[in-house]
């Protein structure tokens, strides 16, 4: 099975994020970047599918500047076969990403597109759904278990939904987005790192794909969440009730 896996370069969740004083974005100096953790789960799943089926191809796709090569190389070191980098310096909203991916899917004709359910930087959780709509393919979001029929023509996915787990079946090709509990991604092994040096990262200028990436969204302002304040101790239940009513305004 040929699987296309999307990879986004995001700030390391362990670094401290600071918002620029003018609210136009985050301070990017000295920030460490990693593969979006949900995308890492998607890569792992694609590799497991390939290993289980004893064949196929895992192709990584990313959109961004040259610097994304670092994350793609890490994905190749995990075991992916090759990578495509759509060179694009401008920020993109989810719809633009989905449109570019549509063009790539038409070129690459994979049986499966695996994506992280969302990127941990903007938390949009839209690109996968939009891509499925644009391609008119079935979609299974928030996957925590994926199985394929013996003929590899259809899949069964267990989804993590609000009330519990939902199992759905659908025909391939399809889009699946990954949730946290799907798997535990492997390390980029040392032999894998050495092999990754020789693997292809094909660069495509964004203009060559001919997709309409006009921004539909404008980021008006970015602000850090309010600082958590220390709690209060009250003497009586009545005082607590009063404060809940007058200050917290919850009762």
């Amino acid at each position: 099975m040929k699987t296309l896996v999307t990879v986004k370069r995001v700030p390391d969740p362990e670094t401290t994020i600071r918002v620029k004083p003018d609210g136009s974005g985050i301070v990017t100096d000295n920030i460490k970047y990693v593969i979006n953790p949900f995308d890492e789960i998607a890569i792992e799943e694609a590799l497991r599918i390939k290993e289980k089926q004893g064949g196929g191809e895992v192709v990584l796709v990313s959109i961004g500047g040259k610097s994304v090569t670092e994350q793609l190389r890490t994905g190749l070191a995990m075991g992916a076969d090759r990578a495509i980098l759509v060179l694009c310096e401008q920020p993109l909203d989810s719809l633009a990403v989905a449109k570019l991916l549509t063009k790539l899917v038409e070129k690459e004709t994979p049986e499966l597109v695996l994506m992280g359910k969302q990127a941990i930087d903007d938390d949009s959780n839209q690109a996968g759904q939009m891509l499925a709509a644009l391609l008119e393919w079935p979609q299974a979001t928030f996957a925590s278990k994926i199985d394929f029929a013996a003929d590899q023509k259809s899949a069964t996915v267990i989804r993590e939904v609000d009330g519990g787990l939902e199992t759905i079946g659908f025909a391939l090709p399809a889009i699946i987005t990954t949730d946290l509990r799907l798997n535990e991604p492997r390390y980029a092994s040392l032999p894998g790192i050495m092999k990754a040096r020789k693997k292809e990262i094909k660069e495509i200028p964004v203009a060559d794909l001919g997709a309409d990436i006009t921004p539909r969204l404008t980021v008006v302002k970015m602000a850090p969440p309010p600082k958590k304040e220390a709690g209060k101790k009250v003497e009586t239940v009545q005082a607590l009730l009063d404060l809940l009513h007058t200050e917290a305004k919850v009762i």
Partner: protein, 388 residues
Amino acid sequence: MDFSLLEEHRMLQETVRRFVKQELMPLEPLVLQRDTQGLTGEDLLPNDVEDRLHARAHEAGLGGLDVPEEFGGLNLGTLPKCLANEALHHTITPFTFPPDAPNLHMLMQTCTPEQREKYLLPYARGEQRSAIAISEPGAGSDPAGMQTTAVKKGDQWVINGRKIWISRAHVADFIIVMAVTDKGKGSRGGMTAFLVDKGTPGLVLQRQIPVIGSHAPWEVVFEDMTIPDSQVLGQLGHGFAPMQLRLTVRRLEIGSWCVGMAQRCLDMMVDYAKQRVTFGQRLADRQAIQWFIADSATDIHASRLMTYHGAWKFDNGEDVRQEASMLKVFATEMATRVADRAMQTHGGMGMSKELPLEFIYRRLRPMRIFEGPTEVHRWVIARSLLKD
């Protein structure tokens, strides 16, 4: 001049950091608990835990970093080995990716084709453990005073003597033993290395000596220990230079250990300073603590650059004995200073055995003694500057 690490070096660093975070860090409470019970060295981790770690490291292909491809390794060199060692020393959980010591570098220079099959290859693959016996009760850094002798009888060598401060002697599959074969020539032509298998008759593990830190080296006695001529490692009489090479690599590694441990201390200091409040002020707002932090960061930066530079130069085939001596002195003293500041910053918690600082503090002390004490290194550095 380009100070950036290669892409694969950065990826290796990432993989090792992740290994440390996921596999080794969670074991720290166990290590501290066992340390408090008096266990040391290899016993700080239960055998099954250590086996599991080795299996995980093997899966990730984290062995043979500096082993050339012809011996089944990845031939990355000493710099990546130092990067891995630095990351591994962020935690006190003791773990080394095989092969276990720079004995590799000695073996690579000296092994015969037969010795290569029997010792070097299994060792490079991580299947065998090694030890080296250099110091003696009466001769540590001064090899001219070496008393252990090897005398040829027919096609056998008979070795007699006593060696001390040998790490891992009890678990090693083979020990490299340095012995005098020509008293008159000393270290220039009179010292030979021998490969001695575990269980060789006449090889006596005399006693294990608990020392400050986390290991307990051995005293080993050779009583008419007889081994065939095929166990001579390298050229007869010329064991000193390959041994020196091995010590040089070890000194670079010690630099990376110290950088890793000091970085952990600094990270802890920074975290603690930001949350600990005394007399109405955070430690982070007090100049005394700020200076501890600034000086430590500067110290670590300098040592890290020295380590990377020394390893890089060594990988380029140059002689780094001088740099290795400087690094050994500087990095071990640097980490001692940083650990001391970290302990001071943490106050009561710093001295407790519930945090790793006390363990790190103890572990650093012998590093200024083993692999050549600080004073000998200073003397060597000065001697080469003052000669002629």
